[in-house]
């Protein structure tokens, strides 16, 4: 299952130097690879294995997920706002899909 419906939540505006919380949620089955279907066949693993957050070209935060992360993975992390810029986040899954979302940050 491809990843879909990414949602990001963060303050509408922030000042330079401020530390803000960013919450990210995406719809994904996060199939562990441990489960079997009704016929006893193993259901192949399909998880989002990597989440990254960048500010312009600089890495803010990265998470590598195993099958122990719940379906529809939610992640909260922080950013120390360096100044005006663009926040962009990426989710990569086992099916080879990558979802990228970009958000300009309103820095006052």
């Amino acid at each position: 299952m491809a990843a879909s419906k990414p949602r990001l939540k963060f303050p509408e505006q922030a000042s330079a130097g401020e530390i803000i919380e960013i919450k990210a949620l995406i719809t994904h089955v996060m199939e562990t690879g441990n489960r079997k279907d009704a016929d006893g066949n193993r259901i192949p693993r399909d998880i989002i294995h990597t989440f990254t957050a960048h500010y312009d070209d600089q890495l803010i935060f990265k998470a590598e997920f195993g099958p122990g992360i719940s379906a529809n993975p939610f992640i909260s992390f922080f950013l120390k706002v360096p100044g005006p810029g663009e926040l962009w986040v990426s989710w990569k899954d086992d099916a080879g899909g990558e979802t990228i979302e970009r958000y300009p940050l309103n820095v006052v």
């Binding site: 935060f61 990265k62 099958p67 122990g68 992360i69 922080f78 120390k80």
Partner: protein
């Protein structure tokens, strides 16, 4: 959890640390099955303490890979989970570590490990000075009642550890 202050940690030099962790390991072998590291200690611990919480071989491997020869320091990693989780499919976790998060002194990496899940490594988080705060939260799966462990690595390669015991109702890893 442990209530040792960060200041107390800084006062301990390597030798006393090694000695005291040695003592801790002995204590663990007799009273805390989760971290007994010898076969004999494990059997003894399992017999002495019910229910037995012997970490999986997967956990031992993953833990050894993270810490190498180092001995992680207890006290600075705050790992928050509920005491009880009815549903092991969605268990909220929160990890935070006090750190200035400067280029010279920051938390670089945090490993979230399960002692009882089929796959021990739940997540690996990487922080940068841009993170501002070494804190992360999310939702994890837990197969059964167990101890969850978070190991952090600072930019100067110091290992820190936090633990949390949690009772799980319905397991959530889709195992078997």
């Amino acid at each position: 959890m442990t209530s040792r202050s960060p200041a107390a940690d800084r006062l301990i030099d390597r030798r006393t640390l090694l000695a005291s962790t040695g003592a801790l390991a002995l204590a663990a072998a007799t009273s805390r099955p989760a971290f007994a590291d010898t076969q004999a200690g494990r059997a003894e611990a399992a017999a002495a303490d019910a229910p037995p919480l012997v970490p999986t071989p997967q956990f031992e491997q993953a833990f050894a890979k993270v810490v190498g020869n180092g001995t992680p320091i207890e006290g600075r990693v705050v790992l928050e989970l509920p005491e009880d989780a009815e549903n092991g499919n969605i268990v909220p976790y929160k990890i935070s570590i006090e750190s200035p998060m400067t280029a010279d002194d920051h938390i670089a990496e945090v490993h979230l490990l399960s002692t009882q899940n089929p796959q021990a490594s739940v997540a690996v988080f990487q922080f940068t000075p841009l993170s501002g705060k070494a804190a992360v939260s999310g939702r994890m799966r837990l197969a059964k009642t167990q101890e969850v462990v978070a190991v952090a690595l600072t930019s100067s390669n110091t290992l820190l550890i936090g633990r949390h015991k949690i009772t799980v109702g319905i397991g959530g890893c889709g195992a078997e």
